[in-house]
Symmetry: C2
Subunit: 127 residues, 2 copies
DNA sequence: ATTTATGCAAATCATTTGCACATAG
DNA sequence: CTATGTGCAAATGATTTGCATAAAT
């Protein structure tokens, strides 16, 4: 049974206040302001637990540190190749593609994730 | 200027002989049979260089070790949540979705990757 | 001759683990 | 009470780096 600890509550609240997709370190820095004694290990453990329980999201990324997401509904992401910033993509999920892969290969397809890559507006401007 | 070394040639050949998407370690084990003195560092360096030069592919995965791919054309992948095995997905690339994201967000969208997840045939059978 | 590549050992860095202690239920 | 969570330090494990030597052009 999962317990309600001060630490877990702070971690959750802090993530909810981010508009971005923070890394563990970014969360750690914020959380320390409220709870200076917290251990990074605790943050790692709680984030994983919360993500597994579906209370928060975890961003599907390549070759990068973990990033968490307050949004839990399915959505895609865009990452800037220049500054590595991550953005939510507000385009409807592709319908029927999991089924298409199932038919083609016979796998049981539960989900899919899309990561778009390119150059963000800010970096485009600075070029 | 890139040079032609025995090591790079063996690394490339070994990857071409894989039907899967090997990790650096898997490649290392195979390569050692031909060139026992090779260093894993050399393998890391060459794979990265080859991938950057577009001679080989690198699989876009979440929270996993690097995996390389002899195929260089754009294609999607499926990963089994049970055994972690990776498969190529032979479904046509989605057309026009990069443009849709560009229109919606203004980013310059160069590429997208899809990773499907579920249970592979073998694991399905063993359940 | 000069530049690039190799191999080794050591460094990095994110994440995980073991363990003693604290705390929620 | 007793199961779960926390904090610390140490361990892990993949990848990278510094550097002297070797090989390619």
């Amino acid at each position: 049974m999962q317990r309600k600890t001060i630490q877990r509550q702070i971690i959750l609240d802090t993530l909810k206040n981010f508009s971005t997709h923070p890394t563990v370190d970014e969360l750690y820095l914020e959380i320390q302001k409220i709870h200076p004694a917290i251990s990074k290990t605790t943050i790692y453990r709680n984030l994983r637990q919360l993500a597994q329980g579906g209370e928060i999201g975890q961003v599907a990324l390549t070759n990068d540190v973990e990033r968490y997401d307050k949004r839990t509904e399915h959505h895609y992401h865009f990452q800037c190749k220049e500054c590595k910033a991550l953005f939510d993509v507000d385009v409807a999920s592709i319908q029927g593609i999991n089924e298409k892969v199932e038919e083609k290969h016979g796998f049981q397809v539960d989900e899919h994730n899309i990561l778009f890559k390119g150059i963000c507006l800010r970096c485009k401007k600075n070029q």
